[in-house]
């Protein structure tokens, strides 16, 4: 397996981390990843991460749920076996539709919520028995870890990170992608 060298800088404060991210980006080094114990607001923008599109998927899944509900009830209640239930109109979907609104709503929400969460889990590589990938266990408690690519320039990156208020700067060998 090929390995690449990366620098891990450990911080203990979110504001120091934010300032460090800005500095590293100004110096045109590549931030591979940042591990934080809680969401640091504005970090994604400072790192230059693209906005997430997960809300859009949720909307699409919701549309799918609505379509499934309409198709299902049209088949069951109108096409397959129309029945006279309390004199409610049973030969036209549109006329019977008001009685279906609750189910249409519930299925929309059901699909939008569950499929979005499943998408989130898969995209972020989370499922039962998945092994955690945070390089330092303290990053779920109160430490922040920034992983910066060295590109053969270890000393410069290490010096830069040391000057940003990191409490630890380590050079780590990592498997190349």
């Amino acid at each position: 397996m090929d390995t690449v060298k990366v620098v891990h800088a450990v911080y203990t404060d979110d504001e120091v981390l934010m300032a460090a991210v800005k500095k590293v980006r100004e110096e045109r080094h590549h931030i591979e990843e940042i591990y934080t114990p809680f969401p640091v607001h504005g970090l994604d923008k400072a790192m230059g991460l693209a906005p997430t599109r997960i809300a859009i998927t949720s909307f699409l899944y919701g549309c799918l749920g609505l379509a499934v509900a309409i198709t299902m009830m049209n088949y069951i209640m109108i096409d397959d076996w129309p029945q006279d239930i309390g004199g409610k109109p049973s030969f036209s979907y549109l006329e019977n539709m008001p009685a279906f609104v609750p189910i249409m709503f519930e299925l929309t929400v059901f699909m939008a919520a569950h499929l979005m969460v499943i998408t989130f889990y898969l995209r972020s590589k989370m499922w039962p028995f998945k092994k955690a990938e945070n390089p330092d266990p303290r990053t779920t408690d109160d430490h922040f870890l920034m992983e910066v690519a060295t590109r053969g320039n270890e000393q410069a990156v290490e010096d830069l990170l040391s000057s940003t208020g990191a409490i630890e700067v380590n050079i780590v060998e990592k498997e190349a992608h």
Binding site: A19, F38, I54, M77, I103, E106, M126, A132, P135, T140
Partner: protein
């Protein structure tokens, strides 16, 4: 960075001198520690109640619904009363975590986890009743529209009872994933602290391998927001649909258009009461008084008071509309409720639900923990009576006076109800010992803005940078050791007390202008502009976050008095300033003094 700013008028949500690490320790303590005697006693009582309930359920199923107190006039009684009561209680959790998230109410963060747990556990109890009531629960899957061996025999989508199936299963499952997604980072925190291999294995499994990358957090926050947006109409729909079970029928007393909003308000009312009951005990038992504060209890009391008043309005509206409708059956149903043989239940409901929450207008009472606990129990009882009144008093005197009768529960009715209470507390007690009961990752995000200590520091004009750092974990280890060795709060690892740079800096700040600095000072002042005491007046530099009284003094010594001067600072001026004052390097830049000063000029 102004991101941690919060108006000083807001009361702190996290009390005490908490660092980020303290939050982890406090939340992990009940999980990592041993259960005390009180826990075992309550657990045993709940287990006995649960087992009694299981016995009664087995007896019901093996013998038949005839073991209950139902008769041909009163076909729904304790079973559906209990069902609606439990579903109602299940509303507070999603309301707190979803609606309060949309309204950006930070106080939800201390209570949302437990409120959602309560939601899930109570919806489980609720779901038991319709299934048992079917009589042949092994055929419960018949409510699902699946192709079957009876030809084209489908479920009836015109029926509110089927809507209920969809609403409650959607609600339960969506609440569950909402809850679990929020739990992942907190399970991961416990996983990474765990010392025993078994514990580590379990929490690794539960945390789904949560890693906490910046991208994960970005998605996490978006998912939470969207789920909140979906769960808000969902939670309102569930009790609306439960109320349709009654409102779409033609029974006097049930056939009312006010039912959906009235049921939803009642559900929130009873749900908050149950959250109050549970959390007042839990904050004490788990030592979480710093997170679930009296302010939290007070705010929940206000919600109880408002929703209780809405419910009161609904009761009175019902009476008015019954009279105004001119329908004599409707009029009789309500007259019978208030003055008939079940008047005691009606007035118990009125007293508990309409009268008792009005005490919360008084600040002394709504900030009293004992009184809040008492009222929460009263409301729980009152809301059970509300459902009993709606169901039984509407049925027991129907259109045919010869079939008028009363309902009396058998020991099986009572046993199943007690059993679900036991089951509920059993689940909650197990949860309180194994789950992170506070959303610690979320609390850490508001620690600097809403923590008591940080509010105080901010008001004193001090910078919050590195203030939430804990000496126990931030002490630089003597060697570059493998980080996986230094896990958790092992005191031998964290003992290296490093005097923080800040402290060194502050003592150095006092005597900045030594001779060697003079030249630098002059060049700095050249760039920033000199202060002329004849034409200008000095500004209060302490208003800039990160400048305290000492820093202001040393800035004045250099010759910096006004926001105008500070606003001209750029990177090179900051560096010069750092070298003159010898202060904590980079602090001025991080706090963006120039930007703050610019705002203060305007």
């Amino acid at each position: 960075m102004a991101s941690h700013y919060e108006a000083p008028i807001r009361r702190p949500l996290v009390l005490g001198e908490k660092s980020y690490h303290d939050v982890s320790v406090d939340v992990a303590r009940p999980v990592e520690g041993q259960a005390n005697r009180a826990w075992w006693i309550v657990f045993s009582i709940s287990l006995i109640a649960f087992l009694w309930g299981v016995g009664c359920i087995i007896y019901t199923i093996s013998t038949g619904i005839g073991t209950w107190g139902l008769n041909k006039t009163v076909g729904w009684a304790w079973d559906i009363t209990n069902f609606v009561w439990w579903v109602g209680i299940g509303h507070a959790g999603t309301l707190i975590s979803a609606v309060l998230l949309l309204f950006r109410q930070k106080w939800r963060m201390a209570i949302n986890r437990s409120a959602e747990a309560m939601t899930i556990f109570s919806v489980i109890q609720a779901g038991l009743f319709p299934i048992i009531h079917m009589g042949r629960p092994w055929l419960a899957y018949w409510v699902v529209p699946i192709p079957n061996q009876f030809g084209s025999l489908w479920v009836n989508f015109n029926s509110p009872l089927l809507w209920d199936v969809f609403a409650i299963s959607t609600y339960l499952s969506v609440s569950l994933v909402f809850w679990w997604t929020g739990l992942l980072p907190d399970f991961a925190m416990i996983r990474d602290r765990a010392i025993r291999p078994f514990q580590k294995k379990i929490y690794s499994l539960l945390s789904f391998g949560w890693t906490g990358r910046a991208k994960d957090w970005q998605r996490f926050e978006e998912v939470s927001l969207v789920l909140a947006g979906l769960a808000t109409p969902l939670v309102l729909s569930v009790h609306t649909i439960v109320s349709f079970d009654f409102a779409t029928s033609v029974i006097p007393g049930w056939h009312t258009t006010i039912f959906p909003p009235y049921f939803v308000a009642g559900a929130i009312f009873s749900g908050f009461a149950m959250v109050q009951t549970l959390l007042i005990i839990m904050r004490k038992v788990c030592n979480l008084e710093d997170y679930i504060t009296v302010q939290h209890i007070e705010l929940m009391n206000i919600v109880i008071m408002i929703t209780g008043s809405i419910v009161g309005c609904a009761y009175i509206t019902e009476l008015f509309i019954a009279w105004y409708s001119g329908v004599e059956y409707e009029q009789y149903a309500f007259l019978n409720r208030a003055t008939g043989p079940y008047a005691w239940a009606y007035w118990a409901m009125m007293t508990c639900n309409v009268f008792s929450p009005q005490f919360m207008w008084f600040k002394r009472l709504r900030t009293s923990i004992m009184f809040s606990f008492f009222i929460s129990i009263v409301v729980n009882i009152g809301m059970w009576f509300e459902r009993f009144v709606i169901i039984v008093t509407s049925l027991h005197r129907d259109y045919l006076p010869s079939s008028w009768t009363m309902f009396s529960p058998t020991f099986v009715d009572i046993g199943i109800f007690i059993g679900t209470i036991g089951f509920f507390f059993l689940l909650f007690l197990l949860y309180a010992r194994t789950f992170p009961v506070i959303a610690q990752a979320e609390v850490k995000t508001i620690l600097k803005s809403s923590g008591e200590r940080y509010k105080r520091l901010r008001e004193a004009g001090e910078s919050l940078v590195e203030k939430a750092t804990d000496e126990r974990t931030a002490g630089k280890p003597p060697v570059k050791a493998d980080p996986w060795v230094n896990i958790g709060n092992d005191p031998s690892v964290v003992a290296t007390t490093v005097v923080t740079e800040e402290k060194v800096a502050e003592s150095a700040v006092i005597e900045p202008s030594t001779a060697e600095n003079t030249q630098q000072t002059e060049s700095l002042m050249e760039r920033l502009g000199h202060f002329d005491p004849k034409t200008q007046s000095p500004d209060d530099l302490k208003r800039i976050k990160g400048i305290g009284p000492k820093m202001e003094e040393s800035l004045n010594k250099i010759g910096i008095y006004t926001f105008n001067q500070v606003s001209r600072m750029t990177k090179s001026e900051y560096d010069l300033l750092d070298s003159i004052t010898g202060s904590f390097p980079g602090r001025a830049e991080r706090d963006d003094w120039a930007g703050q000063a610019k705002n203060l000029i305007d």
